[in-house]
């Protein structure tokens, strides 16, 4: 399966030049960018690991691509995403988020159903990746 989180998951994987163009758009808006990675892409797993702090005051995408590539080198089979943070009043939240690296095989999720009272069902989305210990997932 292919996880379709982020802004551009329905497009073919972005090339570095395309990633750069999106970063330039964020920088043009005055947003700070951060690189995050995870081996558990559960839809409710909000806090991926930070590859360093969000990068403030950068003028060019080169610095962020440098970190993306550093993260890819360290975690070639993890999910890696770029997030752009807007600090202006009224937003103060991510304004962009897109995946720039994914494992060659994406195991995806199972749906666990627990029958409850009446006809109700309690649903749990389960990451297959987390069946294995950290460090052995991909």
């Amino acid at each position: 399966m292919r996880i379709t989180q982020g802004q551009f998951s329905f497009l073919p994987d972005l090339t570095d030049d395309q990633i750069r163009a999106q970063i330039e758009y964020a920088l043009g808006n005055g947003w700070a960018l951060s690189v995050e990675f995870t081996d558990d892409p559960h839809p409710r797993n909000t806090y991926w690991e930070m590859w360093g702090l969000p990068m403030f005051d950068l003028k060019d995408a080169g610095g962020i691509l440098y970190e993306i590539n550093g993260c890819r080198k360290a975690y070639p089979k993890h999910y890696i995403r770029v997030t752009a943070f807007d600090s202006t009043r009224g937003w103060e939240t991510p304004r962009m988020s897109y995946i720039v690296n994914r494992p060659p095989e994406e195991p995806g999720f199972g749906l666990v159903r627990q029958e409850a009272e009446g006809r109700k069902i309690r649903y749990t989305v389960h990451s297959y990746a987390t069946d294995r210990p950290v460090g052995e997932r991909y």
């Binding site: 950068l58 003028k59 080169g62 610095g63 440098y66």
Partner: protein, 316 residues
């Protein structure tokens, strides 16, 4: 694409176009206007610009050359215009498309090297990332290397710097700057770095005449002027100051002028307090001989000459 049997006329035409289209002429003109003298430096800048234009034209014709190494080293004494020229160099590189953004990040050792283990790498990387897309200007770069302390973190910084200079050539142009002799020693101990610097530009000290021209340029920019007496006093001042320690070329001239402005204000204020007419536009603009001759530089040579050596700012 370039076919030897058919001389290409378009090539030379496109060179001219490249030159005009890039707006390099404006940058060079600006350099001429704002920097007095420095003929050899300007010549080297012109050569570098020409090289880059030709390189671009060659690449347009698919002639192999590989991306040129653009890292540079500017040597010379303080106040000889290295930072200004670096800014213009960034402008040139940007107009020719060798860097993506027209910006220059100027740093010294303190910005790159940390205080404890694990501090230096993130600090250096932070600076490198901020500079990416433009020019990183490292002033007094030799302070990065302290052979007397083998656990100095400067070496770590140099290694990261080297890596990025080599692997991210498209992202970053590094200009190292400092005194010539120290830089030469630094390169001797760091051959890896030396081998990655393709362009060396030496900035000579200014002559007395050039320094006077600089002074005129500076007062003009600040909407002041020197009267004849002041001009003569300034010539005398420069002649003396240049022989004193800590002389910093254009920077010393700026400091001297800043003090002259203070004294001028004081003079006008004192006159007003004793009931003179309020100064007119002319008087507000004019710096006189007295404003300059009150400098310690004149007193020191006549009396206590040695004092200047331990005055923190010997430009007084």
């Amino acid at each position: 694409m370039a076919d030897d049997s058919h001389p290409q006329t378009t090539e030379t035409a496109s060179l001219g176009e490249l030159y005009r289209g890039s707006g390099i002429a404006e940058v060079l003109a600006q350099l001429d206007a704002e920097l007095v003298g420095l003929a050899p430096v300007k010549q080297r800048i012109r050569e570098t610009a020409a090289f880059l234009i030709v390189d671009k034209a060659r690449r347009a014709q698919n002639l192999t050359s590989g991306p040129p190494s653009l890292h540079m080293c500017f040597t010379g004494n303080p106040g000889t215009g290295k930072t200004t020229v670096a800014t213009r160099m960034a402008d040139i590189l940007h107009r020719l498309g060798y860097i993506r953004k027209n910006h220059l990040v100027a740093v010294t050792r303190d910005d790159l090297v940390g205080q404890y283990i694990g501090h230096t790498a993130p600090k250096t990387k932070e600076v490198l990332k901020r500079a990416m897309g433009g020019v990183l200007f490292i002033d007094e770069a030799y302070y990065l290397y302290r052979p007397e302390n083998e656990r100095d973190y400067g070496q770590e910084s140099i290694e990261i710097l080297l890596q990025v200079m080599e692997n991210n050539r498209e992202d970053l142009v590094v200009i190292l700057a400092g005194y010539k002799d120290r830089m030469d020693r630094f390169f001797k101990s760091n051959p890896g770095l030396a081998s990655r610097i393709a362009h060396h530009i030496d900035f000579p000290d200014y002559s007395v005449q050039e320094l006077l021209e600089i002074a005129e340029l500076m007062v003009g920019k600040m909407d002041y002027r020197l009267d004849d007496g002041a001009r003569a006093a300034m010539a005398e001042y420069v002649a003396r100051r240049i022989r004193q320690p800590n002389f910093a070329n254009a920077r010393s001239i700026r400091n001297a002028l800043d003090r002259a402005r203070l004294r001028q204000a004081n003079r006008l204020f004192g006159a007003a307090a004793t009931g003179s007419q309020a100064p007119g536009r002319d008087e507000l603009m004019t710096i006189t001989a007295a404003d300059i001759l009150a400098s310690r530089v004149f007193r020191q040579t006549s009396a206590a000459d040695g004092e200047a050596a331990h005055a923190p700012l010997s430009d007084r």
